[in-house]
Symmetry: none
Subunit: 206 residues, 4 copies
């Protein structure tokens, strides 16, 4: 069996085990067994547990970013809200379809020290860039001019992405919640909030 194929099988197995057991609790023995190969072959192809995990993280991060990019892109040319909606739907669909991959990214990589946390941060930065540009675009479409300071937009994007991540966990854990419903709830809320802020209906602690 050619190397490239075997490698993907190993990554599949590794994502599943890492996602379910966690990085430290996952054993190379179990991964090799699930992949249907011997341990030395895993080491021959992927060098070490750390590199194997890194390869998983990179693959899953790229897949997720691609999915979101495609979701947004499918509505390119339409208004910002449709593009955001496309991205959200794609995000929830992807995390629902690959729960182990999502667990690796969101549940494991973030907490396993620098090389991996950085990789996840880079992925999140890509998504944040999408969201940020869509917020700015929405503001332009609504008022022709961004009224929100850049720093606040960054915070909003972060909040939106955080909410989405949390809802993805929710939808993955609770079978009665569909990705579509989660996306709709979040979109309605977010769009209302954005609109309100742009029209000056924010809240003031005083």
């Amino acid at each position: 069996m050619p190397r490239a194929v075997r490698e993907q099988q190993m990554l599949d197995a590794a994502v599943r085990i890492f996602g379910r057991r966690g990085y430290r609790a996952a054993s190379m023995d179990e991964i090799a067994e699930l992949a249907g190969v011997s341990k030395p072959l895993v080491y021959l192809y992927l060098n070490s547990k750390e590199e194997l995990f890194g390869a998983c993280v990179r693959r899953e991060a790229a897949a997720l970013v691609d999915a979101v990019r495609e979701g947004v892109g499918a509505a390119s040319g339409e208004r910002a809200d449709r593009q955001l909606w496309g991205g959200l739907r794609a995000f929830f669909a992807h995390t629902a379809e690959r729960p182990d991959g999502w667990a690796v990214l969101h549940g494991q990589a973030r907490t396993q020290g620098e090389p991996f946390a950085a990789e996840v941060a880079a992925m999140r930065a890509e998504v944040l860039a999408f969201v940020t540009s869509l917020i700015v675009a929405a503001a332009r479409e609504a008022h022709g001019d961004p009224l929100l300071p850049e720093r606040e937009v960054a915070g909003l994007a972060r909040a939106l992405v955080g909410a989405a991540e949390s809802l993805a966990d929710w939808a993955n854990a609770d079978a009665s919640v569909s990705g579509k419903e989660a996306a709709a709830t979040l979109m309605r809320f977010a769009w209302a909030g954005l609109g309100g802020l742009l029209e000056g209906r924010g809240w003031d602690p005083a």
Copy 2:
């Protein structure tokens, strides 16, 4: 030295090590050393690594819920937005003050299998209950009548809490972001969003 005090010292040490290394990577040796006691004593008082971790999770969860409850309670009698604001501020202040405890709850316990995930879910449920009741109260104050279906309120609360958690990580990781600023951004956004939804300015995919 009385047992209760020793136990708290052990928990302090354990939270610090668990929070920084992760559950699996943390070693009982290191925890005992940091606590300044011998390993057998840790076992005498806390029985096993699993129980020790459970005790950490329970203590930190209770402390966080207490902090939020107090933050909300300090504005009891005032309007729902002030109470939500009080809870948010307390949440961000607490996570900033006890980053290791927050790492144990948010970064570790959630991904370490049933007994702990359940404990964290219970804690989050308490916080969600607060938030849900405040959203309902806000709706009453605004229209005398909750216009939002229960299911949507649950989703909104979840989104709000998820956003808060994500912003807490952000504020912990990026020193230039204060808890207060994160809280204010989120509050402005959330309140505008809630108000918009209540007034029927939501977004519709069609």
Copy 3:
């Protein structure tokens, strides 16, 4: 059983295994078993295979140097030839009594890379210093004045020590050769050679 005693047992076992199998071929399992303890205890006390080997080398080197020093010292006050003879006899007696220790020093440590080779080199330097000073003393006693250039003395000392090491291997391998006989042969030869050189009866390639 107190730690210090256990440690010596472990070193005894390790010297035996390292000496017979070689550094790489020796297994920590076998060492622990011969020492009558579990492997983790070996690691608890001696940290790693490398450190364990280092401890063996240091112990055996010190023992050998001490033996030679004592052999030389027992004839202190007497003439240089008696002192050299004392050192040689002690050297052969020691290597015959502790063949595994000698194998560790001469057969293994020298070829196992820097930290160990350096340790053996230091030991040999001590012995070389003895021999060198005895050669110089002999020259003084014979002629009141060292006629041999320093560089040649260094080479002679080296040759003498090398011959002794080789004869020690020989005596260890061939039971019919006693340490005393080896020492006597070498001493007769060396003393005749030294005397000849000092009296100008050396050999010239031309």
Copy 4:
């Protein structure tokens, strides 16, 4: 490329790796890579690591013995001292020219258990035979009659060879010491010693 050539390349690579890393630490992977062939080919030609090492030892031992034989032979017909000098020079020149081969013979094979130690012993026996016969010849030339008992001659030869081996290591390790200088120092010393013994100027413990 013909088999014989390929085989020599493999042996070249193996001698280099074995000499530098040691028998156990050397890996067949590294040897195959350095030889520029695939591992199965190494096995096809040389069967196993053990046989490969054996082939290295035999080749290097033969080369060394040949070199010494040639060195001695170049002075055949001359007096014994010239022949010994020729052998010594050749020995030091050869070990300096092929340090890895010398390391395999002197540093590794001797300590790797029976098959190899025996091979090295056989090589040394050949060299010892040269030296022994030269000592006897020298005695004849000087007195017409060997005054030294056979057993002592064996010891002397051994000491001489041991000294030479040790000086070869020295010259290999310390660049400021040339093979020629080492050979001269040893030759002067040895010849003076031999002459002294033959003339009854030995040393007596009493």
